[in-house]
Symmetry: C2
Subunit: 370 residues, 2 copies
């Protein structure tokens, strides 16, 4: 295989992986029905419950990347003709909309500008008007760095018979995600962000209310691979064979979750916040400006406009990112969609959310900007 | 993480993983848009083309296990109302049928007894009668050990405007799979069988004819995650970001494919055949009988009935498998479906297809049977 460079991963994910996680990944493969693997699955579920702050029995690692987790929820929770209300303030709300429509949902979208978040009172009003069966918002919009509040929304959604779905791909273990306390019915994340595990699995959790919907569908779920009435029996229930789980990726997730719990969630959130504050100060000092509403900036994903004229002087922002990668092994992310060519997305996720990493990022940026 | 035992994997997969593959898996993670990862993807595709014996540009590793690969093909190639003809002679033809129906296909099934294969003349007659838009058969039925011939079928399927789809999950790199020479339009496999790589990716290949169908759908594909019009642009075309690929699993697949090509396909097929012959002789000597039509026995998956009365004497075949696992770290597979409780599925896949492994298997069986 080509030699893999030791990149410093400070884009929108994957994030720096802990050596213990890489070591777990390379452990001998065992069977997906092996009692030892069943124990690993049980422990993964139990640790996911602790980190999602939930008692949901239906908590598991979907055998695909974060986008597969999103699709698992839409495919199981949306039936043809279901009214859905989905917020779009970046790329990922748009994707949820696409997935809900493929599942047959009649989706009404709410939109605010990229970098903004939804005001919960306005969302509640839309819920009252529309009485949607499903409401979905993105907790941490990876394309814009915006942090969407969720607290206090669920009651209104539930009152009108709906389910509340949360994309917490980028926030999970970097910011509080309180599934039960916030009344979230279904959430999905990915392994390659603040969990600091390679990409390949999508932790999901579903409430009893969500599972009631999934189990009482009038129509079969679009997907066999993601059908929770089948996958759920493998992770729980009678342990019936469904598909061959990605065994080694589950080892890695197990180790990543152990590391999170050893550190403690509060300490981990603080570490993310501290690294972010330091990076933010350094970036502002250098003339960068945040593309995100200043009251809703994610600590782990800093979406910033380049200092005026810098891109033009240097052959475009792409040329600068290329220099960061080639000269410093430093990956920062390009802007997506509306932000393409204008913004960088600088990630401080999981193992990357450390002040020494921030020093390195700022030093490298200085070298290519000057 | 719990200590993972060194199992000897001789069930229906996963199979023994080469140490080089585990080492590749544990290499540092890099970004899914990193030029080095793009090179790895290009090399994975090129090696897959060599091993699938195809020039299909649309050859890639789907970011899920084998079942996701099956679903990728059904979701992209079947439109609502499409007539499909699918052969069921075990579990996996049944799953293809389920997936094709979820994609909206009007599926006619052909059935023969478990352990039997389809006579191609009869299949051709069904094609003439039905003029299906898609015909699917399982090359290596992992639930029965049956080896389905494909050669000579494609012309009739094509003449009537259909696509020929092959499940080669278990046969790939253990038996000849000649995509172009046999006129196969789409095939999928998994990493955890004869490739001797952990589970987590599903190599797929699609002909120009299949891609013409996928690109000219009247309706959107059921799945966003598996939509080849999107995934294809990430693996080829403009390299547009779609989802975060399972980076480290692709390292492992790269290494596994390199090992296959270093050995050479012909030598690898011979090694599988030789190990099978030795196992077969040993099993027959011990009173086992093959559950599969004797002219169509797969070398890598030996589906056998236990010697008369042995299961009953020992507390059931499950108790014997448990002893093999606990006392010898040897995994053999249970029978599925119609064969549950009666058969064992003994795998000789990839690194496991070696005569010394066969000696170990037979010695261990002797220890628990006597």
């Amino acid at each position: 295989m080509p030699t893999v460079p030791h990149r410093r991963l400070h884009g929108p994910g994957p994030s720096p992986v802990h050596p213990r996680v890489l070591e777990a990944l390379g452990q001998p493969c065992i069977g997906h029905m092996d009692p030892v693997f069943m124990r690993i699955m049980d422990e993964v579920r139990s640790m996911l419950q602790q980190v999602f702050k939930t008692e949901n029995p239906m908590t598991l690692a979907c055998s695909g990347t974060g986008s597969a987790g999103a699709e698992m929820l839409m495919d199981n929770l949306v039936e043809p003709g279901d009214t859905c209300l989905i917020g779009i303030n970046g790329v990922f709300g748009g994707r949820l909309t696409d997935k809900a429509r493929r599942a047959g949902g009649e989706v009404t979208t709410m939109e605010v500008a990229w970098g903004e978040v939804f005001d919960l009172d306005s969302v509640k009003q839309r819920v009252v008007d529309l009485k949607p069966k499903l409401v979905a918002l993105v907790h941490a919009e990876t394309s814009t760095g915006a942090h969407q509040p969720f607290e206090g929304l669920a009651d209104e959604v539930h009152k009108h018979g709906g389910l509340l779905v949360m994309d917490c791909v980028t926030s999970f273990t970097g910011l509080p995600v309180e599934i039960d306390a916030w009344g979230i019915d279904a959430a999905y994340t990915g392994t390659q962000k603040c969990l600091s595990c390679p990409p390949g699995l999508a932790p999901v959790t579903l409430s009893e209310r969500a599972m009631h919907k999934a189990k009482n569908r009038r129509t079969k779920c679009n997907s066999w691979y993601l059908d929770l009435s089948l996958v759920g029996n493998y992770w729980d229930g009678d342990r019936a064979y469904h598909h061959t789980a990605p065994v080694n990726m589950n080892y890695a997730l197990h180790e990543a979750l152990s590391i999170v719990l050893e550190e403690g969630l509060e300490a981990r959130f603080k570490r993310h916040a501290a690294a972010h504050e330091k990076l933010k100060a350094g970036l502002l000092e250098r003339g960068f400006t945040y593309a995100t509403d200043e009251h809703h900036v994610l600590p782990m994903l800093n979406c910033v406009n380049l200092p005026g004229g810098v891109g033009e002087r240097s052959g475009g922002e792409g040329a600068l990112r290329k220099r960061l990668l080639n000269e410093f092994d430093l990956e920062v992310g390009a802007g997506l969609g509306a932000f393409a060519g204008k913004c960088w997305r600088i990630g401080l996720m999981g193992e990357g959310a450390r002040e020494e990493h921030v020093d390195f990022i700022l030093k490298s940026i200085d070298a290519v900007l000057n």
